[in-house]
Symmetry: C2
Subunit: 153 residues, 2 copies
Amino acid sequence: VVLRRTYENQNCSIARSLETIGERWTLLILRDAFLGTRRFDDFQKSLGVARNVLTVRLKSLVDAGLLERRRYQERPDRYEYRLTEKGIDLYPTLVALMAWGDRYLNEDDAAPLELEHRDCGSPVHLALVCDAGHELSGAREVRPVPRPAAAAG
Amino acid sequence: VVLRRTYENQNCSIARSLETIGERWTLLILRDAFLGTRRFDDFQKSLGVARNVLTVRLKSLVDAGLLERRRYQERPDRYEYRLTEKGIDLYPTLVALMAWGDRYLNEDDAAPLELEHRDCGSPVHLALVCDAGHELSGAREVRPVPRPAAAAG
């Protein structure tokens, strides 16, 4: 509550993003969706969360525009949950979290999952690149600059 | 609690990462650290959080190895908080969240902050690239592959 109040005073895209997807269950549901899960029962099995809780969480993801609820069968009606474009665009966030966890939080030093480029089979990673084509090694090579419009606002 | 229990059954770097940094205040403190904030009072002003709450949160970030508490003055002793390498390596996660928020959550369509390459001044963005040098357009071009060791475990 304390933080939520301050978000309103902050012109910050990270704060706004966390307001939408800051609960960790959100990102775990999206993770499963990226791995191909679409149906309620499969989310439920993967997450091990109570059905009523999962219902609320899926609804909030639909309300936030990250998942779309789509009927795939009639009589009885059955629905599945598909990533929207807005949801799909959270992929780099999940890849970044995965890479960090791979590096720092794996006891046995073996990352559970590898990401491959579908076309060529090579391992995929996130890179910081600039429009001039340089690949940056990290945060120290980046300078954050307030945008004029934002500074005036 | 329900989710935490399932984490233990999941060999997943995203789940593990969220256990460490899944609370949104964690990422907002790190955001401020990346923007140069080091001192308790400056974090407190930026986040608008109660001092006792901030003390607990900073301590948990130090305990998790994301921030280092360093004395910068004696008599009276004063401390500042500096990002560790483990903390710095969360930068891509924050950049990914920022880019997503810039795209979907800015009412006035102007991103508050731009990231520039220090060396050349060009805008910086996150890219999915493969080891063969291709830049991928997004999640659909990525195939997740369980690693043999993880599959056997």
